[in-house]
């Protein structure tokens, strides 16, 4: 088996992969927090309406 296959990411690629993963994780966090806020707001609105 060839030691270079599959090709391993170099230093630059590693940093770029981490940057992208961090960005995705942060985006997911923002979405989850906004969803929690939205559901809370919907509940309050429904309660006040009824």
């Amino acid at each position: 088996m060839d030691e270079d296959f599959p090709p391993r990411p170099g230093l630059f690629e590693s940093a770029e992969i981490r940057r992208r993963q961090r960005g995705r994780n942060l985006a997911l966090l923002v979405v989850l927090v906004l969803l929690a806020v939205l559901f809370f707001a919907i509940t309050i609105a429904k309660l006040s309406h009824s």
Partner: protein, 307 residues
């Protein structure tokens, strides 16, 4: 370096979060949100602002989900067309499986939240609009008939009905007329695009009207649909569903669209109807169509506010 290393593809970088946003076709979503919000704004009755914002959010997410599923299904032809080759799936940044999962989760989620926040009629209409766009337009019609966007245009016409239903829990005359306006607006909008992207569609094997019936036939159809649209857009005023502000806007904007359609029809062209002016009139008609719909529905909302 060994031969196997030379032949191996470069390791793909993971997608950026923006790639998932691109899967949702944000520019298309913006127009859908606008027409949905217009339907909600002109509906009689009151909806709590939080629930109104939630309804618009659900329409936006559902439209994005439908766009995502559309990109998943069309990834093969997207790779062949210059306009779409850089989309996340054909570019290799997002896997088809990821796109499919995202589309399904957002579709189900948006319908559920719409049902919980507003009512079942709005949620059902939202579900039907997603299903119509994905199953009827994308999977069934788009690659089979030149009338794909005529029938499929109904999917894009749903948002005013959904917005109205979110407030009232039912369907009224005015949102049906708004539906008709978007339905008749879709053919001249997309066929103008298809005229100047004709080679792309032909290469991808998509039977758009200019590809199948020729550019001359497409030009006639565009003009005819602008006439139909101009007439239909005045109906809310004529039937007493809207006031003079909307009526004047509909007449002026409709006349402008008919002029654009006439220019497309009379564009300098060869015997096959292919433009000799780099499709200047078709590009202008496409741009005008975007402004047309935005201003027409804005006028309707203003009309309701001042009426």
């Amino acid at each position: 370096m060994t031969p196997s290393a030379i032949a191996a593809p470069a390791p793909a970088l993971p997608a950026e979060w923006q790639d998932y946003v691109r899967l949702l076709k944000p520019r298309v979503v913006s127009l859908v949100v606008f027409t949905g919000a217009a339907g909600l704004a002109v509906a009689p009755g009151h909806l709590h602002p939080v629930l109104a914002i939630t309804a618009i959010l659900c329409i936006a997410v559902a439209a994005g989900a439908a766009g995502c599923l559309n990109m998943w299904w069309e990834r093969d032809i997207d790779a062949l067309m210059r306009r779409t080759a850089k989309r996340p799936i054909p570019a290799g940044r997002v896997t088809p499986g990821e796109a499919l999962s995202l589309g399904i989760v957002l579709s189900v989620g948006s319908v559920m939240v719409m049902g919980l926040a507003t009512n079942l009629v709005a949620a059902a209409l939202l579900a039907v609009s997603i299903a119509f766009y994905v199953l009827v337009y994308t999977m069934w019609l788009k690659r089979r008939t030149a009338q794909n966007i005529v029938i499929g245009g109904a999917a894009g016409a749903f948002p005013p009905l959904i917005g109205w239903a979110a407030v009232t829990g039912q369907i009224g005359m005015l949102p049906v007329l708004m539906f008709a306006a978007i339905f008749l607006w879709t053919p001249p909008h997309f066929w103008s695009l298809a005229l100047f992207a004709c080679k792309d569609y032909a290469r991808a094997g998509v039977p758009m009207l200019p590809v199948v019936a020729g550019c001359a036939a497409a030009r006639r159809q565009i003009f005819l649909y602008t006439l139909l649209l101009a007439a239909a857009s005045v109906l809310p005023w004529a039937l007493g569903e809207a006031g003079a502000v909307y009526g004047v806007a509909a007449v002026v904007l409709g006349a402008g669209f008919v002029v654009q359609g006439w220019r497309v029809l009379r564009d300098r062209q060869d015997e096959a109807g292919v433009s000799l002016t780099d499709d200047g009139p078709a590009k202008a008609a496409f741009r005008y169509s975007l402004t047309y719909l935005a201003v027409l529905f804005t006028a309707l909302v203003i009309d309701r506010l001042v009426g």
